[in-house]
């Protein structure tokens, strides 16, 4: 039986880092992701846009007091895609010859 192709969007290390960080929480803001991922602002922004375009991440621009905030959340689709990717990769690794 042929394996479904690996999700190329999540296979990229920076996007995988963002997705795993968001997987562990309900939501997080841009600053948290910036600090924890170690990416530059521009890089993080462009990866988030790609994840948002795929429907994996929902982004909400809001204010906390007078401070603007960008809140990011992994959508149900994104969580499912990440679980699928995790399982696929496990299967691929398990199928490798010793």
């Amino acid at each position: 039986m042929t394996q479904p192709p690996i999700d190329r969007l999540l296979h990229e290390p920076a996007r995988l880092t963002i997705a795993t960080l968001l997987y562990a929480v309900e939501s997080a803001d841009f600053l948290f992701l910036l600090r924890e991922s170690g990416l530059s602002k521009g890089n993080l922004s462009s990866h988030l846009s790609r994840l948002e375009a795929a429907g994996y991440v929902a982004i909400e621009k809001t204010y906390r007091g007078k401070t603007p905030m960008t809140i990011c959340r992994l959508t149900m689709e994104g969580r499912e895609a990440l679980r699928r990717y995790r399982d696929q990769l496990k299967r691929v690794v398990a199928a490798l010859p010793d």
Partner: protein, 216 residues
Amino acid sequence: MHSQPTDPLERQFRDAELRTRRHWYEDGLAELMIGTLFVVVALFFLAQDLLGRGVAGSRVAASLNLVLMFVVVVACFLGRRFIGRAKERWVYPRTGFVRYARRRSQRWVAGLLGGAIGAMSVALIERAPGAEAWIPAAVGLLIGGFLAWQGRFAGVARLSSLGLVAVAAGLAVSLLNLPSNQSAAAFFGALGAALALSGSITFARFARQAPPPEEP
């Protein structure tokens, strides 16, 4: 502390989970506030010991009991919100905001811990007169166990150390065999001071390492 998964992807998942949990403790505000609450509780017990002597004193002691219960209940209900407000002011602008998924297991553990402390204290007083001297040791063991569990859960070693402090404080106070109010005041005072000190040092370090954002 945790057994590391060998699979790199699993390791990445575990690491992300730990980093997000650790984020809640990296500023020390939770310890600082819980420590302060324990010191307040200790002051109530001390006041009861000092003012609660004689007939008039017993009325004062009863009123203080009610006030103490009110303070603890309010702290339980509003504590997390209060810590959230403090974080909103001092932490989120520096290191970012995280909303955690609600974990039922943690609430259960906290509820069970409170219930266990209450039930154990009543059982010790009722069934074994004289055994009440060991209440601080038993309470210290429970709080210490909870702190050690939190330390392991979030990968924060200082919480496990504070767990040891709780156990040591409980044992030491029990061995001193003080009257009950003095013993409660000594235990909560010592543990509260340790938590508040640890929280203050952590917060000072956090404020130094993560300066406030520049004004746009």
